[in-house]
């Protein structure tokens, strides 16, 4: 077989896309794993962060890295507020109510962004260097996102395993009722988890804004696939989500390379449906 440099490029670009998706899945998964609530509006938090970076960098001239750090902090506060204002009053209610509440939040954030910023597509107008290796080309922004996903994953792992707060978060994730009776302030744990989840959305925002235009509906491009990746990996399972992101991105990339681009997505979604029959708990999910 002849070595196909274009195929190799497609595979590597698929890996890089996987990094972007893995980063998006990380925060959503953490929140579900600990609080047992799906933030359907997670991609809209990313959108809010992207607007934050855009305004700070393109409008107020704040250096990009600083703008991204402010966005991470800002979206962390937003995540805190989402839990405090929306989730916490309905924490004990049926899951469908929580899903609808965060669904409502999705439309609220989209409409609010439309009101505030208008429908125009905005971008920071930054053109990053092009990386060329042996006649193959790769996106610098994607490589950054890929690295951030890896670093984010590892730091989150270290935080959960090695710190007191991380241990408390894992304990609550395992059994929230028991931990409450043992004197753990679960409310505080939830708020901190939501803030970390928000911060991860802010991190994703800082990287996505390098590759995509910001507009109120930008979440539509990522929300559904991020959610599917979390489900495929096993909702709440960080490593599962990470692996699933790369599986999906390779289906999209290689499928799209050999067949039409749309077929890549069709195959990815068919695989998802089949997996839901075979392993409804997800690739690395716990049976339960």
């Amino acid at each position: 077989m002849v070595f196909d440099i274009y195929l190799l490029e497609a595979i590597i670009n698929g890996l890089l896309l996987g990094g972007v998706l893995a980063l998006l899945a990380l925060g959503l998964n953490l929140i579900f794993g600990v609080i047992d609530v799906v933030w359907i509006s997670y991609a809209e938090l990313v959108m809010a962060g992207m607007y934050g970076v855009y305004w700070l960098y393109a409008f107020f001239g704040v250096p990009l890295v600083l703008a991204a750090l402010i966005a991470i902090f800002g979206v962390a506060v937003l995540g805190f507020l989402v839990h405090y204002l929306v989730i916490s009053p309905i924490l004990g209610k049926p899951p469908i109510n929580q899903l609808l509440a965060t669904g409502g939040l999705l439309f609220f954030l989209q409409s609010f962004a439309t009101l505030l910023f208008g429908v125009e597509f905005r971008n920071i107008g930054l053109r990053l260097p092009v990386i060329e290796l042996w006649d193959m080309y790769f996106s610098f922004a994607r490589i950054l996102a890929f690295a951030a996903a890896l670093i984010g994953m590892v730091s989150l792992y270290v935080f959960l395993k090695r710190t007191f707060m991380g241990t408390a978060i894992r304990a609550v994730a395992q059994d929230r009722e028991i931990m409450a009776t043992m004197g753990v302030n679960t409310r505080q744990v939830y708020l901190i988890t939501s803030a970390i989840g928000g911060g991860l959305a802010g991190l994703a925002a800082g990287l996505l804004v390098l590759q995509y235009d910001v507009h109120p509906a930008v979440g539509l491009s990522f929300g559904p696939i991020t959610f599917m990746i979390c489900v495929l990996g096993g909702l709440g399972n960080l490593l599962g989500g990470f692996v699933a992101a790369f599986i999906m991105s390779q289906f999209i990339s290689i499928g799209g390379f050999y067949l039409d681009l749309e077929w890549g997505y069709v195959i990815a979604f068919v695989f998802f449906i089949v997996m839901m029959f075979l392993r409804p708990q997800g690739i690395l999910g716990r049976r339960g």
């Binding site: 439309t114 125009e120 994607r142 509906a217 539509l220």
Partner: protein
């Protein structure tokens, strides 16, 4: 309880007054209720739908300021389709059944136009489509109550290929049989419609179509498509897309080292040159776009007297309303087509066909006969009659090919009205220039 005498008298006189005054008031406020549907939110809003909506409102306001039409005020009710076909259908039904509008007008997205037009026609209600271009709205559907002065997608597809065929030999030094053409498009009725026109026309001209592929406009990644384009090595790329996908394409094409000699877009995202320059700066220099011309680019001397002033009024009001420098072609389409309906069709319906019911509007529309040069966008208006394959579509509309050169829009084709000798192939300074 007894009402005091004086108060009773006062009430009675007020009631009488009301009874007498009401019909007068009603007569003074005779109105045409127009349901206007555009996308004011969602991804299509920024792709030109909102611009079309804003310009439509400018036309309606201008008509009302000038005293309405034949004693009727235009009462426009604006509805947001939210960039979704199902919402467009719901809003169309709401406007017709609850708001009791006399007609529907507007529509940017072909994905909305196709189902709404079929539905409205089945209800024997009147619809006037302003911006959507898919030929599928009319082709072989024999619609009776739907009309569209706008260019249709088959014409887009043909226009770009015709233009390419004219410059290929002269500027690319390539015989048509060796010319490699790639067609990429968003996969809705709009993109697919233009692309099938491209494909057919290119094959008829004997060009090599090396890739023809669709993708979802909201796709988060186009890198495999670009890798395939690199492998196919096209001289010319014919692209039809909306906004987020076009910017994603340009960004990823640059990052992945895609090279070509010319790129022709077909409206929508490509019409928003301001946005493209904001995003890509000089990288988008010398890109082409096929669209009905933005009215302000035409020489008013070639049009019916007075139309130049009308265009200036549109440009002035649009800039004021939106606070922008450039007025996109979608503003011209929204304004021009609304203006044609209000000032040509509507008066004839009222005067010669007895009112504003769908039947009267339909008859008046079929009698429309505006010669070329009679609208601010240059083309004339005459609708294909019932029984024709494209019944309801304007047979006189034509698109032009524009080229963006150093931030300015120039007309490159047809030759008769061109304002620039097109720059082909891409100059070496472009990051996309073939080496």
């Amino acid at each position: 309880m007894k009402i005091p005498h004086i108060r009773r008298l006062a009430l009675a006189s007020m009631a009488t007054l009301a009874l007498v005054a009401l019909p007068i008031a009603a007569q003074a406020e005779k109105e045409v209720k127009v349901g206007v549907i555009f996308d004011y939110s969602g991804p299509l809003a920024g792709g030109g739908s909102e611009a079309g909506g804003v310009a439509t409102k400018i036309a309606v306001d201008l008509v009302n300021e000038r005293g309405g039409i034949e004693g009727y005020k235009i009462n426009a009710i604006y509805a947001d389709a939210q960039s979704k076909p199902d919402i467009a259908i719901n809003e169309a039904e709401r406007l017709l059944n609850q708001e009791k509008v006399d007609l529907l007008l507007g529509f940017y997205s072909s994905a909305q136009c196709v189902p709404v037009a079929a539905k409205v026609d089945a209800l024997k209600q009147f619809m006037w489509a302003n911006i959507c271009i898919s030929s599928a709205v009319f082709k072989d559907r024999n619609l009776k109550y739907v009309f569209r002065p706008q260019v249709h997608s088959d014409q887009y597809g043909v226009a770009s290929v015709q233009f390419v065929s004219e410059v290929a030999k002269e500027k690319l030094d390539t015989p048509l049989a060796d010319l490699r053409v790639a067609i990429i498009h968003e996969d809705g009725p709009y993109g697919s419609g233009v692309a099938s026109g491209n494909d057919k026309a290119a094959k008829e001209k004997g060009m090599k179509v090396v890739l023809n592929e669709g993708y979802a406009a909201t796709a988060p990644d186009l890198s495999s498509l670009i890798t395939k384009l690199k492998r196919a090595k096209p001289d010319v790329i014919l692209h039809t897309g909306y906004n987020p996908d076009i910017t994603l394409f340009f960004r990823q094409a640059r990052e992945l080292g895609l090279r070509f000699k010319m790129l022709i877009g077909h409206g929508a995202g490509y019409a928003q040159i301001d946005k493209l320059i904001d995003t890509f700066g000089e990288d988008v220099n010398h890109v082409f776009n096929v669209d009905p011309v933005a009215a302000q680019l035409l020489d008013p001397a070639t049009l019916k007297p007075g139309l130049g002033d009308l265009t200036s009024e549109l440009v002035k009001r649009y800039k004021l309303a939106k606070g922008v420098k450039e007025v996109p072609p979608h503003a011209s389409m929204g304004f021009n087509h609304t203006w044609i309906f209000l000032n040509d069709v509507l008066p004839r319906a009222i005067k010669q066909h007895g009112g504003i019911d769908p039947e009267a509007l339909r008859k008046a529309a079929l009698e429309t006969d505006i010669p070329d040069g009679g609208t601010i966008q240059g083309y004339g208006v005459k609708f294909f009659p019932a029984g024709h394959q494209m019944a309801g579509q304007n047979e006189r509309s034509t698109p032009v090919v524009m080229q963006y050169i150093d931030g300015e829009t120039k007309i490159a084709w047809p030759k008769a009205i061109r304002t620039v000798d097109p720059v082909v192939p891409l100059p070496a300074a472009s990051p996309y220039a073939a080496k």
